[in-house]
Symmetry: C2
Subunit: 207 residues, 2 copies
């Protein structure tokens, strides 16, 4: 069963609430309880959960453990994915230190930077290498995912090196549009876009 982008974005939110409920010792959760915790409509929850294949019981709710397992599978949290990160600036080191990623199955196994003074360090458990060694290191490690946090003007070149190293997907935190082969999946994470949306909404609300 395929999930649309919107439904997909809700899955990790359900997961978070369900883990909280599991920690409290609950075994079942109603759609209404999940909806309430997230501030969304119960029918949305029922539709989403129906598509996971996990069946609820009327008057009882959905089995939490089963839902967690299935949602972890759907969000990729049940397996480890090796990643490399290029660009150990402020944002790059913030991502290296982000504790939640590990829980979602992301293993950043190597980082790269152009500045010699940032190389041969270990940041948050991840060794930092000179960017010149990126292609060979990614090839050797076989990491399928590249995280791009370099300055925008270097983004295309480093992306190409990642592709040469064999990554199948790039998580692009730069505003640059990347020209890479079709089979390489690029997900853009653009704070400037988010800020523009936020500022527009603030304006709209003031009007």
């Amino acid at each position: 069963m395929a999930f649309g982008t919107q439904a997909l974005q809700r899955l990790p939110l359900y997961l978070r609430v369900l883990r909280e409920l599991a920690r409290e010792g609950r075994a079942y959760a109603s759609g209404a309880a999940l909806a309430g915790a997230l501030g969304i409509e119960p029918v949305v929850v029922r539709k989403d959960l129906a598509r996971t294949g996990v069946r609820g019981t009327p008057r009882v709710g959905f089995p939490i453990a089963e839902l967690i397992a299935e949602l972890e599978r759907l969000t990729g949290a049940d397996r480890e994915v090796m990643a490399v990160l290029a660009g150990v600036g402020r944002l790059g080191s913030a991502l290296l230190g982000y504790p939640g990623f590990r829980r979602q199955g992301l293993r950043i196994v190597a980082a790269f930077d152009a500045a010699p003074e940032r190389c041969n360090l270990v940041l948050a458990g991840t060794p930092v290498f000179p960017v010149a060694t990126l292609v060979e290191t990614v090839l050797r490690l076989g990491a399928p995912l590249g995280i791009l946090t370099v300055p925008a003007e270097r983004a295309q070149r480093v992306a190409e090196q990642m592709v040469a190293g064999g990554v199948r997907a790039i998580w692009n935190f730069t505003p640059a549009r990347l020209d890479v082969p079709d089979e390489v999946l690029v997900q853009r994470e653009d704070l400037a876009v988010s800020l523009a949306v936020l500022l527009h909404r603030i304006q709209e609300r003031n009007a």
Copy 2:
């Protein structure tokens, strides 16, 4: 004319391409040129631009300067918005140093942190104060926007302090759901959600 979320997210992308074209000395851009640069369909560009109210000329294209001015207005980049930031950890300092925000009209006028050793510094031009002074400082400055980059377990409390200080909107970088008055706009920026979407897509493509 109201923009939906999707259309709204494309506006800053048009803006970026148009600024680039303006820098090259171009005065007009066709919808097809914009579409090509962004990898989207020309009809989407025409629809979006039609809603800005800027009219194009057949065989010529859209007037770049006029479009830029209108898109800056729609994305809030034509006015300054004062913001305060709470939580000067790795992510918080990354945001303080992000050069693009300034260009979009965001002025982070004060930052706050619970750790004394991070207070009374100036980071990327922004002074850092003890979080205990947040309410009074925000009241004094009149900043309408709060940026929340504290640990998740402190998010609710700091959000309440921001609201007490009078912010009208919160840009929430924590995974916490915030319970604030309805009139306070909350925009969530959840990297865990993005990562889940990315991992799902990687899995899907491998299947």
